[in-house]
């Protein structure tokens, strides 16, 4: 059991024994965490991103958000199935889906899955674009809703969305999207969205991202693992956070 364990090879744990490579890895992680744009996709989340953001002092209570623990996703699609059933999503549409990323050059694991859904942004491009205020941000909980009565089906919000989170539902002739199961679950007293509840691996951690006691809060505000959002350059200030490890 300890055959490869050679006590003579061990070094003391002081700064002078840290190899340059390890030091670089550590620094890289530090840069990541302090918000340097790394690898084109990763940006550390500032606390402001989670708390209303944009200096407008908007604060939602509860402020619903989700942390996606990407490394745990195995693409079983039980979340998509649960979402479809709960929210009457037609076969040609989806409110959430799982994207597949393959990196041939990676050592070891080469495939990963990226669940995507509406990011319930704090600076939502879709809300600004809608001519009839049919899509709006809930002042209490930050969820982006679509009011089907007011939606004229111009599809501008579909173009505006940086996350391709919207589709046109032909039965209602209006745009449909994820609303964190607000009408079907949250408003009826449930604590979780259908997808979060259905996930067997605990990929989707849903809750109040402004509550220090909540599970997603603990996953976002820590320095051990990188946390990022998708397409930060769009300035939409999303509320779906991704983490690994």
């Amino acid at each position: 059991m300890f055959s490869k364990f050679d006590i003579d090879e061990l070094q003391k744990e002081s700064m002078d024994s840290v190899k340059p490579m390890e030091r670089r890895t550590f620094l890289k992680m530090g840069l990541l965490i302090s918000g340097v744009y790394a690898g084109g996709k990763v940006l550390q989340v500032k606390p402001a991103d989670a708390f209303g953001g944009h200096g407008k002092g908007a604060s939602y209570k509860p402020h619903y958000g989700m942390v996606i623990r990407q490394h745990l996703c195995v693409d079983c699609e039980l979340c998509v199935e649960a979402c479809t059933k709960t929210n009457d999503v037609p076969s040609y549409g989806y409110r959430t889906r799982i994207l597949e990323h393959v990196e041939e050059r990676a050592i070891g694991q080469k495939r990963e899955f990226i669940p995507v859904l509406c990011n319930q942004c704090n600076n939502p491009p879709c809300v600004r674009a809608c001519p009839t205020s049919a899509t709006y941000k809930d002042k209490e909980n930050g969820i982006i809703h679509v009011d089907p009565r007011r939606c004229i089906g111009c599809k501008t919000c579909m173009l505006a969305c940086p996350y391709n989170a919207r589709y046109l539902k032909s039965s209602t002739k209006t745009v449909d999207k994820c609303n964190f199961c607000y009408d079907t679950r949250l408003s009826r007293g449930e604590k979780l969205t259908a997808c979060a509840e259905a996930c067997p691996a605990g990929v989707r951690v849903f809750g109040d991202v402004s509550d220090p006691a909540s599970k997603p809060y603990g996953l976002i505000y820590q320095l051990q693992h990188p946390v990022w959002v998708l397409r930060p350059e769009s300035g939409a200030e999303p509320n779906i956070f991704y983490t690994k490890g």
């Binding site: 040609y92 009839t132 599809k155 173009l159």
Partner: protein, 412 residues
């Protein structure tokens, strides 16, 4: 004082109607029954096309746009939106070009004024026909545009301002018919301002989508206005030539001058749009991966025929040369050049709308689902509606030439 002025206005209206307008309308009817065989055949053909495409449009409504149109979740805006833009670009352009003459007093462009104003109303109406068949709930739009407006939305401003624009253009045209030139100028000026504001907002719908790199930035609103003027020149040259061809009348001296000025203006505007296009490409090529991919797709990829053959050659370069060669005197050549421009501009609008969507918003994640260029092919229903709307323009133009007797310019 007030009652006096009221009575004078009233008497003016009555006398205007009494003397010229009523008689004018009566004689218009006379003109209608005196068309040539070709004229009636053309009218009949366009009626038939409109009838057929109305049937197709009704079919699209009954089966649902989701089934009938080729647009997708990733590419929600397609041929119908680009055709709507083509029409309103032309309308705004005609309004701007006509305003140079009869609002800002550049005499050489006075003779084209009435026809341009009429055509700008015709083209905006054709555009509205298309957009009514594109939007899922157009009637709700009219209601909630007023009830729950979103003042930060460009599409709200665009719709509302284009409504005002159409109203004031119709007012302007009516005043021109009544020979109330001062009032016509006021209505025309309001129409011009709302048209420019509406059109730049149309550009801003694209320019302000900060999730879409290909469009985002101040370029779109500026480009839209310049390319509108280019389209306006092409349209007025083409339709003036067609009108003279129909009536067989010779071009009088003011009209000859107008055509010469228009050819010069067209050369200038094509040059500006070419300049814009070159810089759009050069700046785009140093952008993010998605934007570079889009630029490559029309420079060398699946949209290269659209770009090089239609946009560049037919839409700009060949017409530019032809306009220069014609020296503003060979009207047939100028008309051919403008017809080519209109075709090229139609494709330009299509490419502008579709190319902004062919690279997925998730492209840079490198996921398998969104690696390449997304596909969009317009459906039969979409094409039929476009052809129907073009026929509406053609038919109304033909009717207008008779009813308004060749849009003869009056002395200001």
């Amino acid at each position: 004082m007030k009652t006096e002025s009221k009575t004078s206005v009233l008497s003016h209206v009555v006398s205007s109607f009494d003397s010229s307008v009523l008689k004018g309308w009566y004689s218009s009817l006379g003109e209608m029954v005196q068309g040539t065989k070709k004229y009636y055949m053309a009218m009949g053909l366009f009626w038939l096309v409109i009838y057929a495409s109305t049937l197709v449009a009704l079919d699209a409504i009954s089966v649902g746009y989701h089934e009938a149109y080729g647009v997708t979740r990733e590419i929600p805006w397609g041929l119908l939106i680009s055709t709507y833009i083509f029409f309103v670009v032309t309308s705004t352009g005609l309004c701007i070009i006509s305003s140079i003459g009869h609002i800002f007093g550049v005499k050489s462009l006075l003779p084209i004024g009435k026809r341009a104003v009429f055509l700008s109303i015709v083209t905006i109406c054709s555009g509205f026909v298309v957009i009514l068949l594109e939007i899922e709930n157009p009637f709700k739009m009219m209601l909630y545009n007023m009830l729950t407006p979103n003042l930060t939305s460009n599409i709200w401003w665009m719709g509302t301002l284009y409504g005002a624009y159409m109203f004031f253009m119709i007012l302007e045209f009516s005043f021109l018919l009544l020979n109330w030139h001062r009032t016509a100028i006021i209505a025309g000026l309001i129409a011009l301002f709302s048209g420019i504001a509406a059109h730049s907002n149309l550009g801003a719908i694209f320019g302000m989508l900060h999730g879409r790199e290909f469009w985002y930035g101040p370029y779109m609103p500026i480009y839209f206005i310049v390319s509108a003027m280019m389209s306006g020149c092409a349209a007025i040259i083409f339709f003036t030539w067609t009108a003279y061809r129909m009536s067989g009348k010779p071009y009088d001296e003011p009209m000859q001058k107008a055509m010469q000025t228009l050819s010069k203006l067209t050369v200038l505007l094509i040059s500006i749009v070419l300049f814009f296009t070159v810089w759009k490409i050069i700046t785009g090529l140093v952008g993010a991966e998605g934007k570079v991919l889009t630029i490559q797709s029309f420079l060398f990829g699946s949209y290269s025929v659209n770009f090089w053959v239609f946009e560049v050659l037919l839409g700009m370069v060949i017409p530019l040369v032809m306009m220069l060669v014609s020296k503003g005197r060979k009207y047939g050549m100028m008309a051919l050049a403008s017809a080519m421009m209109l075709v090229g501009i139609f494709v330009m609008r299509f490419d502008l709308v579709v190319l902004g969507q062919v690279v997925s918003v998730f492209h840079e994640l490198g996921v398998n689902e969104y690696k390449g260029i997304l596909e969009y092919t317009p459906s039969f229903h979409e094409w039929a509606i476009v052809i129907g709307a073009l026929s509406v323009t053609a038919l109304t133009f033909l009717l207008g030439e008779k009813i308004f007797k060749g849009h003869v310019a009056d002395e200001h």
